[in-house]
């Protein structure tokens, strides 16, 4: 083991940002996918609430990112550079642009419903479908770049897995669908939420996630996820609660209506799993490097 150092990113900023950023981007993407492939007229409440959620969370994300900095007031320095090889640099810009689209879409929905008056007629005239398609592209970037950021470091567990970006994107969309489902249930749109086609989308996403998570465990340093250190945060929270139980429930209720309570629990479990996936990836990366001092001690032991 070589004396590598890992960034001391606290999970309560960074893993939470990965989680919220994934949901924000995923829910906007979900709205766009519904617009393009689904039934936008029928599922308008889903598109509306998904967009509101994206807008709210995308405003929370920069706060988490700024709090994570050593010099918080210099956050704006990020927006003085544009570096293609730096995921943090591209991510800062993507988050800014995505935030613009998410907030704009929300305002358009609010204006259409008569709940937003300022510039309402202008907002209603905007080509919303086109805006959502462009915004969704930046959403994909926001959901995935955090994984690419990790895999382009020198930390063994992160850089051995080039699918981390995709893993975060899939999980982002899956957790977004769960979060939007919870919102719809809260707002009384049970019929929109309990839609077998959204259930099958969730099932496919969870299926993807299984493949990507199994792949992750088999990468260099991935075996740490199966140790007692990650027993709760990975094995229980991600694998069992976040993926296995929701998949079984979705399969059981494949042919019949799912009671609101069950749907809410399934969604909640998916959200818990999504958060702990981020947490586990972050902390397992940190654990895969014992810090320079530990590494040097190990080298002494090996040589001695």
């Amino acid at each position: 083991m070589l004396p590598l150092q890992v960034s001391s990113w606290p999970w309560y900023y960074v893993a939470v940002y990965f989680f919220f950023g994934g949901i924000a981007a995923g829910s906007y993407l979900l709205a766009a996918l519904t617009l393009v492939f689904g039934t936008p007229t029928r599922d308008r409440p889903l598109m509306r609430w998904a967009t509101y959620l994206a807008a709210i969370l995308v405003l929370v994300c920069p706060i988490l990112l700024i709090l994570d900095l050593g010099q918080e007031l210099r956050f704006w320095r990020m927006l003085t550079q544009f570096k293609l090889l730096s995921p943090v640099s591209l991510g800062s810009w993507a988050l800014l642009i995505f935030g613009f689209f998410a907030v704009l879409s929300s305002l358009i929905f609010l204006a259409e419903d008569g709940k937003w008056k300022i510039g309402a007629s202008f907002l209603k005239r905007l080509p919303h479908g086109l805006l959502m398609r462009i915004g969704a592209f930046f959403g994909i970037f926001v959901a995935g770049y955090t994984g690419v950021l990790l895999s382009s470091t020198v930390i063994p567990f992160w850089n051995s897995n080039q699918l981390l970006g995709l893993t975060f994107l899939v999980s982002g969309l899956s957790t977004a669908l769960a979060a939007v489902t919870l919102l719809l249930l809260w707002r009384g749109y049970h019929q929109v939420a309990d839609n077998h086609n959204f259930h099958s989308l969730e099932l496919i996403l969870l299926g993807f996630e299984v493949l990507l998570v199994v792949w992750m465990v088999f990468q260099e340093g991935g075996d740490i996820l199966l140790t007692s250190q990650f027993l709760f945060t990975f094995v229980v929270a991600v694998a069992v609660m976040g993926v296995l139980i929701p998949m079984i429930m979705l399969l059981v209720y494949r042919e019949r209506a799912m009671p609101s309570s069950i749907l809410a629990i399934v969604s909640l479990l998916i959200l818990i799993g999504g958060f702990f996936l981020r947490y586990s990836v972050l902390e397992a990366g940190k654990a895969s490097v014992g810090g320079a001092e530990h590494a040097m001690a190990l080298i002494r032991m090996l040589i001695g």
């Binding site: 150092q5 900095l69 994107l169």
Partner: protein, 258 residues
Amino acid sequence: MATMTMLVDTSICIGCKGCEVACKQWNELPAEIRGFSGQSYDNTLSLSANTWCHVDFVEQGTDYTQDFRWLFVSDRCKHCAEAGCLEVCPTGAIYRTETGAVNINTDVCNGCQNCVSSCPFGVVSFDHDTGVVGKCTLCTDRTETLGREPACVAACPTDSLVWGSRSDMLALADRKRARIRGKGGPARVYGKDELGGLNVMFVLEDEPEVYGLPSDPVLPQTHVAQGYTFTAAGSVLLGIAALVSLRNRRVGAEDKEG
């Protein structure tokens, strides 16, 4: 200005740590209380945001009376030609100087710590007190402004540390390697081609790993394009998944309406 390089000849380092002290003194770096390490005669153990130069003590063999040797290496930032920290810095705080050194503008750095995880040598370190990162500057303030050699080089009593133009140091490194090999010992030059060439080169008497140096350091950003490509390819799959699952509904809805 020509690219300047430091050559570290580990074969004549006596582990006096004069370079460590000179570095602290010139750069006005605070002392760090790290306690008793129990590791050889070394309590510093590693580089940090306030320890930019560190003499690594490697003990080989267990029997002190026979078959035992010390290896010392004066370690610091390698000032890589292809520097992961510089590529990844999103604020532009990390920059390259005229002589090829990689430096940090601590007035611009906002402490995002992306560079910390991007250094293949584990050099760049975060200072929790100041909220920014720190590392060796190759004494650019001495070399480029005053025309002097770095403080560690000036302090080195055995000339294990040498400072000069890159071409001169490459030639010197080859001569040193040839001399050690002539005496029957193994020797190699580290930093000639690694990461496009390191501006701190080493003459080593053993494998790089023994000194805590990766034998084949890789610029971490070489993975960036691959990561984005897989994500983009996967997003197409997600699109298909959405098409399959959400399109069904439209057909189902039409059936019901029909």
